[in-house]
Amino acid sequence: MIRFILIRLLQAIPVLLIISVVTFAMVRTAPGGPFDQEVKMQDEVKAAIEAHYGLDKSAIEQYFVWLGNALQGDLGPSFKYPNRSVHELIGDAFPVSLELGIWAMLVALTLGVGAGLIASTRPNTSRDYLPMSIAMFGICIPRFVMGPLLILVFSIYLQWYNSSGWFFASDRVLPALTMGIYYAAYVARLTRGGMLEVLGQDYIRTARAKGADEKRIIFKHAFKGGMRPVVSFFGPAMANLLAGSFIVESIFQIPGLGRYFIMAAFNRDYFLIQGTVMTYAVLIIVLNLLADILLVWLSPRLRFD
């Protein structure tokens, strides 16, 4: 097991390097630069600023300077927020996105797994069709509709929660629901599919023959196997949740990481782009690894390969 984790971590190194090179190349080849504004800057001024940030060197040189700094934990300065480093910006925003992501994940898992289990125990009856139709709705409604809808109902009519902000514990509810419901819908369908497959297996019949009741069959015999599709889905999905969502953060005015992805690209904020992309890449790799470890733990047969 430790060997498996070590191998996967070693494999992550070339992956991250490739991602950083590709991002770097794409960002530099995109038209426009960080200091191209509507009012044209004087050439000398621009040259001085570019020299200050090391942008006058060749692209390859720039990349290695960035890589060297990055390896020491310095992700470079931000052009848009001049007095702040990329490191600080991400360090401030990431915990916010992380918290929101975890709440959203809890919403997704509770609603999704619950609905999926209910549906899978009585397939092709109203107990299956009702939660699955609601789940289909959840997948179809985009978050920029779901967010305002929740605000309308819970902030404006019922006045239970603030419509935006990130100050009180109650401020977590609506954004977490907005993000979570979307994933809950997927999780519900995956749970249903996974459980139905497992419930059709011979060993479930064996459990029935032993006199096990439905509760025991579902939770002791089928749950572990039935959750495997959800676990595989949740690796990458978690990375999305934790990295923040530009839409949800904009709707609810949350100081999270999601908006930097978009803003950095708009502003050609080279180092911030590179920083957010690398953060996201590390998240994806780590969470996929966690999902794989969980899958191995779920399936004893995989433990030996």
Partner: protein, 332 residues
């Protein structure tokens, strides 16, 4: 009073292709301590008969249309789910064809073995594990104390079937239903498993229903044999009588198909034709189109089991009327 008395059991599957009459009016009984062998080819309704009694038919599409199965005074077909569950795994246990898929790959053998005890008896986990180790030793699993912590995939096919048997017998049931227990195993292992079941049966005075498509397997182990064809019982009687005095052409044809009873070098005998489509209602005897003794009269009318001598019954009208006398196979 027999231990299990099944009367006129009918189980149909309602599918898009029509109604499949998987079991159509099957009656039989099992006495205390005896072994009843059920033989027939794939799709003849042997397994569905037993699954129906145990409530293991997926419903829908399956539906038990009628009949009763009295076990110890309780009708398994009409009793409550709770009552059936309390009998299942405690007084009637089952083992299945494929030990590779019948054990849960996600659970340790230990947890699966003790489950019948934990469900049906008021017993501590430690005591249950002790009993599980004993029962593993009883079925011949070496190093039971260590092996019990393993997962099913760490066992060979034969060992898994031993685990299944240990699990089925841990509650000391009165009836064991063995659904093709040796079909998925190597020939040498087959004999071991059958012997194991026979020994445990003798020790405990337990009744066994042994389902197999292999007449050879059943002949060696069963006291009585029931031959099924197309969802119906076509012949039933004491093993010896069924073997040496076949009363139904299908039974005789099955015997003729046993390779070891044929001359070396001869082409192996197969029954011509295919079993009837179970979604169609067949007029007359279902075996008539494949039967070498059939005449025009066989293709119409109702066919019912009739005992001729000492409980040896057949549904074949021509043998009932003594129009034909079937001889046992030459080399049998």
């Amino acid at each position: 009073m027999p231990l299990l008395d099944v009367r006129n059991l009918r189980t149909y599957f309602h599918t898009r292709g029509g109604i499949t009459r998987a079991v159509d009016g099957v009656s039989f009984h099992v006495d205390k301590g005896e072994t009843l062998g059920i033989v027939g080819e794939s799709g003849s309704g042997k397994s569905v008969t037993c699954y129906s009694m145990m409530g293991l038919i997926p419903q829908p599409p399956g539906r038990i249309e009628g009949g009763e199965a009295i076990f110890g005074g309780t009708d398994l077909l009409s009793c409550s789910d709770e009552e059936l569950r309390s009998i299942r795994g405690r007084r009637v246990a089952m083992i299945f064809q494929d030990p590779m898929t019948s054990l849960n790959p996600f659970m340790r053998v230990e947890d699966q073995l003790i489950e019948p005890l934990m469900i049906h008896q008021d017993i501590s986990k430690a005591d249950a594990i002790k009993r599980a180790i004993e029962s593993l030793e009883e079925v011949g699993v070496p190093e039971a104390e260590k092996r019990i912590r393993s997962y099913p995939h760490e066992f060979s096919g034969g060992m898994r079937q031993r685990v299944m048997i240990a699990m089925a017998l841990i509650t000391k049931p009165e009836l064991l239903i063995a659904d093709e227990p040796t079909t998925a195993l190597d020939v040498t292992v087959q004999a071991q498993i059958l012997e194991l079941i026979a020994n445990l049966q003798k020790e405990r005075g337990m009744a066994v229903v042994l389902i197999s498509h292999d007449l050879g397997v059943v002949a060696g182990a069963a006291d009585r044999i029931m031959v099924m064809y197309s969802g119906k019982v076509v012949e039933t009687g004491e093993t010896e009588s069924v073997f040496y005095n076949p009363r139904h052409p299908y039974n005789r044809a099955l015997q003729k198909s046993i390779p070891s009873l044929q001359q070396k070098g001869e082409e192996l005998y197969t029954i011509p034709g295919m079993p009837p489509d179970p979604t169609q209602i067949v007029e007359g005897c279902a075996f008539a189109p494949r039967c070498e003794f059939a005449d025009e009269a066989c293709k119409s009318g109702l066919y019912e089991l009739k005992a001729s001598a000492s409980e040896h019954a057949t549904s074949c009208k021509r043998t009932q009327n003594k129009e034909i006398i079937l001889t046992p196979n030459a080399n049998g």
